[in-house]
Symmetry: C2
Subunit: 340 residues, 2 copies
DNA sequence: TAACCTTACGAAAACGTTTGCGTGTGGATA
DNA sequence: TATCCACACGCAAACGTTTTCGTAAGGTTA
């Protein structure tokens, strides 16, 4: 088991100084051609690779981006990561991914861990618990220490930093409008509780769309789900004997669960009830019927977020701080769950 | 913007030496109670956090685990990561995740990057391209430098290291047996090309199960798919006018695509054709009908892999090398896509 | 031959820690 | 008063780099 070879070892072996080796490897003119070649040959032979840790310490930057997301087993977030990785790799950055598991404490721990030397900046979507507690001191602190943060999707309005979001309200409005334009009149919404920012925004979009069509929203057409894992029973009783002709679900799971419930209740999608979901994931694409949905373009979000972050990271320190909020356009993907 | 505070700054501010500060923060008896309290108060005030990079350099270990997977947008792999994170966090390890995107080159780059100081050991599932090329020098090199590697799922038999796998053959056999026990006689398999190790193993399991039932396998009941993204057309023509009464698909995507194709061809699942898939992902659970499938217990795999790795990492250096292969039991999850 | 200039290399500091050991100060002991 | 011993702290090395600056050797010039 040969250990990793260091400059020091090469120097000793070749009977020159460490600095000579370092310079030779960098093709410095300070070093004679002869020595340079000798050193490089030796380094190659022993497969020398500079130690990243030492470089990070010296340069005071790590060339890594920290990504913290609420859930790792989640299609949308992984597509975002895909986008981040794409540009990070192009620009020579490494990506560290941590999941907060929607726990405030774990988010804090992860952020502090990465902030103490492991990453130069962060791309993050906050945990559910954090949105509930409204405690953002860890993020503020990270920023105040000079580490740029880009928030995406589940953002925090109060925080002054770069953000990448979709227009959730507009997306929901588009979805609802689509249903309205198909002639649906009794449109229910299955959404989350209000403290989830994106849920609330989508609910508002739904309401706006109805208003624009002069339809009064009905309280009993709105279902706010707290416990996502047990949504099926809630949706089932919600839909029981209800004469809706369309459902707008703010995420994929709610959409397919609604479809399943309708199926069990003997109703056909889209003939009896049309469904529009949110997020273009695996489920929407492969479900039968495939689901009409609003695509959030996760990869694009990741790309934009990474670009914003790297710009900040590589920008001059003396330019005045300026923060952008990028809004990614959503798009309606029409499939089989809404009738033509 | 207050920069990160270091021992040096605290020392200067308090007019003591760096070592005094360091020791005081560690509650060393060498330092007077008075000084200790003063230092700790100051450190707390300025929110001092030791710099991980410096610690890594000094201790020559990073307390991070590198995970390299073929695809990040993939339910099974993310569940494995979930498991890894679970035990890593318990044991105070950080997790760095990189995806190779199934590219050999990117796998090499990522591994070398992480190996040069960013991680102490690796958990990895090799890229498709790597399996094809059979070039494992990067992994061998990493191990020869003293960094432990745990392979999972898509492993490499030739490599001597810890491994965590499922018994793909046995799982496939179980799946096929289930179909046979339901009375199915004409069982097709939709699988991958042979160089994907798990695909081949599952195909073999299917063949074994048939043999045990004295059923001769038919070439025209075996579909090997090369281009996963366009599997629908292949499956469609494969199933066209074929009188099968059951399908065993080696992954979720093939299973639901088969279901979709059958649906379009006017056949009912499970009444006309039963389907068993492999991997218990989102799709299987929520599809209508929900899919009977073989669960790989991804999280459990991640847990075991992480434990193996951390054992190696924290074990004595002088114990003789000994490598384990953990085989996770698969289980059959019966749902609606196979008739009772 | 003295002064100077290249050439080719080495010494050392710096990044932020930890830790073994050396040492000055003061009080207690003889 | 001389000796000794805790006590409380500082020094310096080490981890692996990069880079600035210093310098010895040898050659060139006047």
């Amino acid at each position: 088991m040969k250990q990793k070879v260091t400059l020091k070892q090469i120097a000793k072996e070749l009977d020159v100084s460490i600095s000579t080796v370092s310079k030779a490897l960098k093709d410095s003119v300070e070093i004679s051609l002869d020595t340079r070649q000798k050193v490089k040959a030796f380094a190659k032979l022993y497969n020398y690779k500079p130690n990243n840790i030492a470089l990070s310490l010296k340069n005071r930057k790590t060339k890594t981006i920290g990504v913290i997301i609420p859930e790792i087993v989640h299609h949308f977030f992984t597509t975002v990561i895909g986008g981040v990785e794409k540009v990070a790799n192009e620009k020579g950055y490494n990506v560290i991914i941590c999941s907060s598991n929607n726990s405030f404490d774990k988010e804090v721990i992860n952020l502090e861990m990465l902030a103490s030397g492991s990453a130069d900046g962060f791309i993050l979507s906050v945990a559910k618990e954090t949105q509930q507690k409204k405690d953002y001191h860890h993020i503020e602190e990270t920023m105040s220490q000079g580490m740029p943060v880009v928030l995406f999707d589940r953002i925090i309005d109060e925080l002054v930093c770069d953000k990448v979001i979709i227009d959730d309200g507009k997306g929901a409005q588009t979805a609802t409008n689509h249903l309205l334009s198909l002639g649906c009149k009794k449109i229910a919404i299955i959404t989350t509780v209000d403290y989830i920012s994106v849920g609330k925004l989508r609910t508002n979009g739904y309401l706006r769309a109805l208003r624009a069509y002069d339809i009064t929203a009905r309280e009993d057409y709105i279902l706010k789900i707290e416990d996502i894992d047990n949504c099926e029973s809630e949706i089932s009783s919600f839909l029981k004997d209800k004469e809706v002709d369309a459902i707008f679900a703010v995420n994929e799971l709610f959409a397919v669960t609604a479809a399943r419930v309708l199926h069990e209740q003997g109703k056909k999608v889209p003939d009896d009830v049309s469904i529009v979901g949110f997020t273009d994931g695996i489920l929407s694409k492969h479900f039968i019927p495939s689901l009409t949905t609003i695509s959030q373009h996760g990869e694009e979000m990741g790309i934009r977020a990474a670009k914003l972050l790297i710009d900040k990271l590589e920008g001059e320190d003396d330019v005045p701080e300026e923060y952008k909020t990028v809004i990614i356009d959503t798009s309606l993907i029409q499939r089989q769950s809404t009738k033509k």
